[in-house]
Chain length 233, copies 2
DNA sequence: TCTTTTATATAACAGTGTTATTTTTACTGC
DNA sequence: GCAGTAAAAATAACACTGTTATATAAAAGA
């Protein structure tokens, strides 16, 4: 549906507040972004072309340059979208009775998100391997920007809660433990996405063994006892 | 130096064994590969172009298509090179008195290789994130091919030795533990390469904490006691 | 030496992201 | 409502990319 250009925006004409030049500006931007997201999810990053994107929504390439600032701008926007979707997964995890239960849920949610949204996950972790098709959206040290994202926040809070309740060692900084847990799950998920494991069962059991093992080194005796109540299997 | 074409290969002409068509075939291939390696290391994958590569060694693009089979062939060759270099790092680690010492050395060597050869490491782990500029050199499930590489073998052998000496839990398969350890170190190194850690010290201490933690869940009590003798700090 | 095969060089093709130019559209002051 | 202006979209061009087709030159085999 393309809004008629001669509609003279009858409703918005009365107020003197400056409106966006085009009513369709925002909707077109999201329409463009949705199409880009689709292309990315389907055919990977090489399927995401400025020209194809333009013709997919029935416009010309210049639209991408005014709406975003070229291809990098589109990718930067998708990057934001990726974090937003990841945060949804994380924040859908109930805190449960014990922060340990929360922690376990967060790990599972992280893995689920990565497996179900591999393109978006790759986008998030694109700086993880310095060689990537995606350029860093901004000049800032992007990977460290993760720490400012909501999804990181959830993990941090869970770890903090564990420490507060004496379930997790407090002789390490919360940030440190959070980073270690992130690396742990990311490491497994990376390999799983690459098809490293020969079967679903193998991937499951290794994820379990890995998380179990690293927690063994981080939890207090009290924490270990409590963990066994929530730990799968 | 370009060998004269009219040299009529005076020395090799006498034996009737079929020689390669051109004496320069092999040397040119490696020359091409070295240049490609340099370009990759310097400017990332987008600096690696068939045309630039050709002009870098003073030839035309067709040479790349006869020596390799286009750009993918070059990347496949670099992929092999990456594993070879990684194996060198791994195999330079002395087995030491205890397999635990060996294990620790392998982890440190893995990290050192990744940090010092980030382009090659990215190549190895390029399938780890399904979205990558590099196509899988062959149609096989590439990531699983890691398990057939020498560098994986070293880790596997170290784990196996630990189990044999009762230092590591034997209620998990050697392959399983190997995969878990690989994921652990890869997870950390990924984040470190991305500049996730705010300082060298932070990266070091988190690597230590991570490896320490995961070993806590994998080593036997006997193994834990022995480990403390080798563990840094 | 002559013929045939093979590698290289040249040029062309189909893509890509980006930029310049021109046309069209929407807004604004009269 | 109409003219003038500013912004956005379309078109075309530029500088790239990987790949392929064709022609030329060199090497191999008879």
């Amino acid at each position: 549906m393309k809004l008629g250009r001669d509609s003279k925006m009858n409703s918005a004409q009365k107020d003197k507040i400056k409106r966006p030049r085009r009513v369709s500006a925002h909707v077109q931007r999201t329409e463009l972004l949705d199409a880009a997201s689709d292309m990315l999810a389907r055919g990977g990053p090489e399927a995401l072309s400025v020209r194809k994107l333009a013709s997919a929504v029935g416009t010309s390439t210049m639209t991408i340059y005014t709406a975003f600032e070229g291809k990098d701008g589109v990718i930067a926007a998708l990057y934001e979208e990726a974090f937003a979707r990841m945060a949804e997964f994380q924040e859908a995890v109930p805190e449960g009775k014990s922060p340990l239960e929360w922690l376990g849920g967060l790990g599972a949610a992280y893995r689920a998100f990565a497996l179900q949204n591999s393109s978006y996950y790759a986008l998030i972790m694109s700086e993880t391997l310095p060689i990537s098709q995606f350029q860093t959206p901004e000049a800032e040290p992007l990977a460290r920007g993760i720490a400012r994202q909501r999804s990181y926040r959830s993990l941090f809070d869970a770890v903090s809660a564990c420490q507060d309740q004496g379930l997790m060692a407090s002789d390490h900084e919360t940030e440190e433990i959070t980073a270690v847990l992130w690396a742990t799950v990311h490491g497994h998920v990376s390999l799983e996405l690459a098809g490293f494991h020969e079967s679903q069962e193998a991937a499951d059991s290794r994820f379990l063994l890995l998380t179990q093992s690293v927690l063994a080194g981080l939890l207090t005796p009290k924490g270990m006892k409590a963990w066994r109540a929530f730990a799968p299997r």
